[in-house]
Subunit: 346 residues, 2 copies
């Protein structure tokens, strides 16, 4: 089946992806990406994410030596936007949107990335993610933690950091994941992604890395060439519910996954990643046992450090299409070393 | 309302977009795109889309002097893929996908684009679009015509051309548009986009260009900064149903729209565009009066010829977000001249 085109169903989104594995063979004369800058200074007094720097709005960053959380100076979501009022026509519907946007630096150094940080440092990042979810989750229905890594993923600053956009509403992707997990739960009396964890553990065809508490797979329905899904073994609703040993194990699996990613094309691997857990705020009280915490990694590179997959044309107007199977991608990642190529070379 | 963040409903997709107009003010130090090559040769004997050239598979292009249609040498959809058979688990669902992929060159010259072609030449392209829809529509449920323009939109060849991917199934976007138009029709006894045409003609806030048969608006729910929607005045199901004078009027409106696009940042404006009409093949017989033919233009540029909008992080994991309102974008495009900047300068 693998070599012939077919479609696969994404049970989280409720849509389909076209898999045409033979497309990898076509010649590429399109756009080539610039590989990421190699000579990034450790500290740049003009970089608004560095310790001790004065930001555009006059605020001075502390001399932080671990992580650093602050309010986004150009937030897409603010707490006090007025309600647009009733819509005048069913085709001109608007609704209010309130929220909060924050930025979290992973480390005081600009020239480091998560896979090169120590397990203890990654564990601190994880603890911070959990805390932010608890804090912003008290009065927001959805807390979206995400990292845009690399210029090709619209990241505007090389300093290692992630963002949090917390909103008064369930965004589209969250609403779809909620609906589809609920439907599965009602039908099978078991959380979808808990079942999926078991299935992949047994099949072993799409596993990238695993430890006693976590599993990383290229999901059966992956869209991006080397997309992965991070799943806890235990049924866990949200990041703050993780035990201390599960957090240590998450640091371990994250470092191993990201080293493999960097080793694939021997480049600091660009991606957008983010966490999805059960809704929060006033939705936290609802029945949420159909939810299972998970992280998505969406990396754009397809063939090399400079040739990415473009989700354009057919993808935008009709349906996502991928050029290699999930099993091929998983096998490639699985077989890569876990020691980072930059360390190996030292 | 405009200046404050809010969400707007997309009645074709059935999802929401976050509008945070104040975000245009933030500084940009992220990736800059290379502006498109200015010195493209009119004919390149190595370019597989040029007249008289031998393609990778040994086939020789005719010495065409108008449009030229041929089968894609690396098709994502082929007519004979085997059925993957019954799925073994509800979380591992695959289905068969069959189809055909073609490429259509708009013009024998590599250094020309649609806005610089004559009305008669554009009319020929439109007639070809209609013919292809008829031909492939006889035995495919969906015929997706699309143009990826510019390297930033994954276009691998500067020669003016579009693609056709015809499929045995309704792709995700088509299925959503079908469902949502049907629901609207059942509720309002009128096709959604026929009502929307009237509404926008009356409001006049989001109009970019118009003539007696066509209207181009930045839709109320636009996601891409300068996204537009092309709507016929008359209720029309598919491209082949257009009358001769409607086709001439479409050539006129297309040329005017694309000149404005190029004039916005004085650059050959990149985009993915495509046509959506009522389903075809064995679905053509069904009740399709809820459908209205339309074209989408999805251009990525945001601030200049080199700074694009990145749909990453929050957009991939949560919800699309835009940095200027549809009304601001429409006003900007509306006020631009219709004479192409390259002609003005001659
Ligand atoms: O057909 P091309 O130019 O090789 O490829 C381009 O268009 C396709 C259809 O939109 C996409 O799947 C590819 O990612 C893109 O690079
Ligand atoms: O927050 P930044 O780095 O300014 O912006 C980046 O992430 C945002 C959230 O994913 C996107 O909306 C922007 O298009 C992208 O450039």
């Amino acid at each position: 089946m693998c070599e012939h085109q077919h479609v696969r169903y994404n049970p989280l989104k409720g849509d389909w992806v076209l898999v045409s594995a033979h497309r990898m063979k076509r010649p590429w004369s399109g756009q080539e990406e610039k590989p990421p800058e190699e000579n990034i200074p450790r500290h740049d007094p003009k970089n608004p994410l560095c310790p001790g720097v004065t930001r555009a709005n006059g605020k001075v960053n502390p001399d932080y030596d671990s992580t650093f959380l602050f309010d986004n100076d150009f937030p897409a979501l603010q707490p006090d936007a007025p309600d647009p009022g009733p819509s005048e026509h069913p085709l001109l519907q608007a609704a209010s949107a309130r929220g909060k946007c924050q930025v979290m630096c992973f480390h005081p150094w600009t020239d480091i990335t998560l896979p090169l940080m120590s397990l203890a440092e990654i564990r601190t990042v994880i603890d911070n993610w959990a805390e932010i979810t608890t804090d912003l989750g008290t009065n927001h229905r959805w807390v979206q933690l995400f990292e845009n890594k690399g210029a090709v993923m619209g990241c505007s600053n090389p300093h290692p950091h992630c963002q949090v956009w917390a909103s008064s509403f369930l965004p589209n992707e969250a609403a779809a994941a909620d609906k589809n997990q609920k439907e599965y739960f009602n039908k099978h009396q078991s959380p979808m992604l808990v079942d999926y964890y078991k299935l992949e553990k047994e099949k072993r065809e799409r596993i990238v890395v695993e430890n006693e508490d976590w599993l990383v797979v290229v999901p059966y329905w992956a869209v991006w060439p080397y997309e992965t899904l991070v799943l806890p073994r235990r049924h866990v609703l949200r990041l703050p519910d993780l035990t201390s040993s599960e957090r240590d194990a998450l640091a371990d699996i994250t470092k191993r996954l990201l080293c493999k990613y960097d080793n694939l094309f021997e480049v600091s691997f660009p991606y957008s990643m983010g966490w999805h857990g059960a809704p929060t705020g006033d939705l936290a009280e609802a029945e949420n046992s159909h939810w299972q915490l998970h992280a998505h990694y969406y990396p754009p590179l397809l063939r090399s450090a400079t040739v990415r997959k473009f989700m354009v044309g057919f993808e935008m107007l009709a349906q996502a299409q991928r050029d290699l199977t999930a099993e091929q991608a998983a096998e490639k990642l699985r077989n890569l070393p876990e020691l980072h190529y930059k360390i190996k070379r030292q």
